[in-house]
């Protein structure tokens, strides 16, 4: 306790009375390192969050129910949907029927999935109907109308990824031919073109279930898949357990199971983020090491005198560690406030435009505090090495430099 008191006393006086320029420079350095420690990983996390939410909002929903085994469709969909919607934790559910395999426009054609949907319930589960680029979203009573993704239509947007593989110049109001699963080809007017900014979900076409009932009467009351949107905060796995009790012979997959499409991307992002964190921590360690080393080089004699008059080595070492810690905490604390109340709101109002849309900074208080503590610990350890070395010199050599 006495040693700690002496350390605090020495560190406090040194901080209060040593060069303010060095103190300010060190603090600013720690601030910048902390902000860099947070900024890019937060941006990367923002991009990951964006990709994950796009996936859920436009492609997978929270839970996908498909028939198990060799069955190709789910029968008696209406009653099943009613049961699903009545389950705790379910916010919305919609059925989708696979109806088409090919879309043609003039001489261009390609293999794309065309599904039949109920526009109302589909809009409750997915954001696609709200991401209209041209025309309008499907309506329940639409007949001979199709809504195409930008990945199929192209819509003259040459900058869109996959434009060359699309029909390139299809616009709202144009007619396209769709080859149905029964082999018939039907002509549909393009009601609208959507752009989810996610290639996997931008390569689908949609017609209404009422239209599908006319074209494929055998499929009435059936669905290829049911998509379930859970309420906020609901555990998807727990919800699957509840849904499994409603009907047997079904496959249940959560968004996490279906996230494989962006999993590699996410893993790569996380790796980059971790590398950047290690680099920032190394920078912090080197900064504090150099500052402490230089500080100690100028105080070699002073440390010798302190030891000569009976001050133990441990309080002397601890005083330098405390100094480094204080620099780190002040710098990093200021950085935390700047990041949380300056940079994050700024980026929120002016997001970065990534290829998959606007991305903001995503970080939590837990992460920010964790990084703060990590940086303070790293700074303290970096100060420890030169401080310990300085008290290993003989008192005589320290004072008289022999």
């Amino acid at each position: 306790m006495t040693g700690l008191r002496v350390s605090v006393f020495l560190a406090g006086r040194s901080l209060a009375r040593s060069s303010y320029g060095i103190a300010a420079a060190t603090t600013v350095m720690m601030l910048l390192i902390y902000v860099s420690l947070l900024f890019l990983p937060s941006l990367i996390q923002g991009a990951i969050n964006r990709a994950n939410s796009q996936l859920v909002d436009t492609l997978t929903s929270n839970i996908v129910i498909t028939p198990a085994g060799n069955a190709t469709s789910i029968a008696d969909v209406s009653s099943y949907l009613s049961s699903i919607r009545g389950t705790t934790g379910v916010a919305a559910a919609t059925a989708v029927l696979h109806v088409g395999t090919q879309v043609s426009y003039g001489a261009n054609s390609g293999s794309w999935t065309v599904d039949a949907i109920d526009p109302v319930s589909y809009g409750e589960v997915f954001a696609t109907p709200r991401n209209i680029l041209e025309g309008r979203a499907l309506r329940p009573r639409d007949t001979s109308q199709v809504m195409l993704g930008i990945g199929i239509a192209g819509a003259g947007q040459t900058s869109v990824r996959g434009y060359r593989a699309s029909l390139q110049d299809v616009h709202a109001g144009d007619d396209v031919d769709i080859t149905l699963v029964n082999g018939r080809t039907e002509t549909f007017a393009v009601a609208g073109i959507y752009d989810n900014q996610l290639p996997q979900s931008d390569s689908n076409g949609y017609i209404t279930l009422s239209e599908a009932a006319k074209l494929l009467p055998a499929s009435v009351g059936r669905a290829t898949a049911i998509y379930v949107r859970t309420r906020a905060g609901t555990n998807e796995t727990a919800e699957v357990s509840r849904l499994e009790k409603l009907r047997g012979g079904m496959n249940f997959l959560t968004s996490a199971d279906l996230g494989a499409a962006v999993e590699d991307q996410t893993a790569a992002y996380r790796l980059i983020s971790n590398i950047l964190k290690v680099i920032s921590l190394l920078m912090a360690a080197v900064t504090i090491f150099v500052i402490t080393y230089v500080d100690l080089a100028g105080k070699r004699r002073q440390i010798g005198v302190e030891r000569a008059i009976g001050i133990r080595s441990s309080p002397i070492v601890l005083s330098y560690v405390l100094k480094a810690w204080a620099y780190a905490v002040v710098g990093v604390g200021t950085g935390l406030l700047l990041f949380r109340y300056g940079i994050t709101p700024l980026v929120h109002s002016h997001p970065f435009e990534f290829p998959n849309g606007p991305v903001t900074l995503a970080t939590t208080w837990h992460e920010m505090v964790f990084d703060l503590i990590t940086l303070a610990v790293v700074a303290s350890l970096a100060a420890l090495a030169p401080a310990v070395r300085s008290i290993q010199i003989r008192i005589l050599d320290a004072i008289w430099g022999t």
Binding site: V6, F9, L396
Partner: protein, 222 residues
Amino acid sequence: MGKVEVRALHDVSVEVSQGAMACIMGRSGSGKSTLLRQLGLIDMPTAGLVWLNGQEVTGLSERQRGELRLRRLGYVFQEYALLPELTAAENVYLPAMMTGQPPRRCRSRAMEVLDKVELRHRAHHRPRELSGGEQQRVAIARALVNNPEIIFADEPTANLDTASARTVMQTLCRLNQSLGVTVVFVSHDPDDAQYATQLIHVADGKLSGAGDHTDDLSEAQP
């Protein structure tokens, strides 16, 4: 290539009596400062023993020697050696704090010893705001704060003008007489011998003569 071994002291045996004002005299390079540092436990002899009040202290660990320097010895350096970031009072306060005394007691003790060296009014000044003589008296106060048995002073007046040097030596003498603290100081100035009750002459690392000097001191005192 390599270091050349220099034998600073050889076959030196010296005893300083309790309450003495002992002066180690000699020319530059004679080994007088080495002797003082070894007696003050800042340096360790390669051979031989140092005894303190009947206790052999040469074999102690650095930590134990540090405890002795803190509680039973005081050290005054030639170049003042005050900590520049601390005020005069804080410089004096620090060794007292290290002994674990309550802060308030440390502060009052620091003011008390500053009073003894007549520098209470300069307690809150930083070393750079003090004259050389004042800094040396603060160093004496620092050496005195833990009530040491012995104060070692390494050429305490070497960097001072005549008037300041006299004040510093008179302060040491007064503390020696009023508090009974033993003072061992190094000097190359023959005039300083007048303050000593015991003279230790060192030349070429050996004792060249020692003796009681009480009479000289009595004559020197006003």
